[in-house]
């Protein structure tokens, strides 16, 4: 079940989607983080952000919207509290990195170089940050240049997480590749909105938010498949994975590894069940090595 995600060795292809699993401790009664391919931590910025007002979520058909706004206590707290705990547990760690500016991304990575973490996932795609974030991830030139800068700052596996809210996902993926990324993550949330008709108001304080959950799976699969054909980097696929079969779909479409997000909220055992489901699928189909499934879709 082991896979190699752009230099990051994972004992199985399953990690958590950033922001849905904190740094793993909250799920400790359900999931032993050392059994996961990796734990991807909640987006972290240099000094910590307060995030948006509540309500921050809304339920939507087969999915949900969130506008957490990257609330986080800053990279120092992550390094003092969360990373040591994850290290103690024997987890493989991917740190999701955020910033309001190129410099902030770099500063966060610089700090993290001192910590025992195994890869970075650069979130250039969060729709909930007014500066940086969204705009950054939709322009190929910006993407290439921020990736280049971070590439120069680290030798660790560099995963770039893309937003699906673009006309051409392959243009952005190519830019990340040109910048020197080791892998790309697909997809972050789709920008959406929810209205409470009876109250004539938006359901969330910030009006718009990011859509996740199984409703987005068709869009996510399409983007993974397009990028698998367009670039040669490995892909971390996510967006609506609720069970092992969903994960296999992403792998067949071209993902080398997958992340489980919203499913954790529905079922705290989701990550474990996805791992078991993939193993079960391989057994039923006589697949000895999960790597054989990557991009194995017959079209």
């Amino acid at each position: 079940m082991a896979v190699n995600l752009g230099g990051l060795l994972m004992k199985n292809p399953v990690t958590t989607a950033s922001g849905t699993f904190a740094a793993g401790r909250e799920y400790n009664d359900f999931v032993d983080v050392s059994t996961l391919g990796a734990v991807t931590t909640k987006g972290v910025s240099l000094h910590g952000w307060a995030g948006n007002d509540t309500p921050r979520i809304a339920e939507t058909p087969s999915g949900m919207l969130n506008s957490i706004g990257l609330q986080n206590p800053g990279v120092k707290h992550l390094m003092d509290v969360d990373i040591p705990w994850l290290n103690d547990q024997g987890a493989t760690i991917i740190v999701n990195v955020s910033g309001h500016s190129f410099d902030e991304y770099l500063a966060v990575v610089d700090e993290l170089e001192q910590a025992c973490v195994h890869a970075y996932e650069i979130n250039i795609s969060c729709p909930n940050v007014d500066a940086g974030g969204m705009t950054l991830g939709t322009d190929p030139k910006c993407v290439e240049s921020i990736v280049k800068k971070i590439r120069d700052a680290t030798d660790r596996p560099l995963i770039v997480k893309l937003t699906p809210n673009v006309t051409s996902i392959t243009d952005i993926a190519k830019a990340a590749e040109a910048g020197g990324a080791d892998a790309i993550s697909l997809i972050n949330t789709l920008l959406g909105m929810s209205i409470d008709a009876e109250r004539m108001r938006p359901t969330m304080a910030r009006v718009v938010g990011g859509l996740s959950g199984s409703c987005v799976k068709p869009v996510a699969l399409r983007m993974v498949w397009e990028c698998h054909q367009a670039i040669s980097l490995p892909i971390l696929g996510m967006g609506g994975i609720m069970n092992g079969l969903d994960a296999v779909e992403f792998i067949l479409a071209g993902a080398s590894a997958v992340a489980v997000g919203t499913a954790n909220f529905v079922n705290p055992f989701a990550t474990q069940e996805v791992i078991e489901g993939i193993a079960d699928y391989c057994e039923r189909h006589g697949v000895n090595d999960v790597n054989e499934l990557i991009g194995a879709l017959k079209c």
């Binding site: 909250e26 995030g51 509540t54 957490i68 609330q71 529905v266 705290p268």
Partner: protein
Amino acid sequence: MPLINEQARIVENECVGPRLYLMVLESPQIAKTIKPGQFVHVRIPGMPDHILRRPFSVYAANPATNTIDILYQTVGYGTDFMTTLTPDSASLSVVEVLGPVGRCWMPPEHVKRALLVGGGVGAAPLYMLAEQLVKAQVHTDVVLGAQTEQALVCRGRYEVLLSSHEADVVAPLCSTDDGSYGRAGFATSLVAEALESAAQAARPYDYVAVCGPEPLMRAVAELCAGANVYCEVSMERRMACGIGACLSCVVETTDGKLRACVDGPVFDATKVVW
């Protein structure tokens, strides 16, 4: 206490008042460990399109029968759908409950006189606390407010409980918006008077617990602040994970944005930034 996620059989699911239902669940592990003020995060089976769990306080837990009681009000899709679940249905008689979650009510250690204030369905999550206090022989008064007499749904249970202990007031003080029972108007005025007369009688309250609509909680918190009485409130927020991971449910506090699910739902009222 470790968190548990268990398949809970529905033992009972009945209408007990206007838009109010009582669901009794067989949930042995949670029934044993849950504390007053904590809640369970419930996955309701068979809902088309809707994926999130719903948080509900536990109204009563009975380790002897392995059951927990949830008193819920129908306010939207999920709670409406819950009313269709029946103990005898083939597929829709089991819900998944995750719990016990959250910070429980924490009266001061040597509390002497407590006032519990429940607005609407907020009366439910206070009942276990009332039991606990009465058992510990704390002098406990209860104020209940609701829109109408029928909506004062836990009243009977509180009456039985309170009549079993020695106190100035052996029945809950009630108010209804429409005046159909007790004082006409909001519960706040009853609370103000109770605080006042307790103070005058030199037997002041040293603990107030409030659960209900935010304006009620805020008003009571302000009265308590004025009267210098320690007050706790139970905050409601929309929740995704329900266990502290997603930051959906934060409450603005003097210590920053804290999670209602695990840092609350019960907060020291003076810490809440309303």
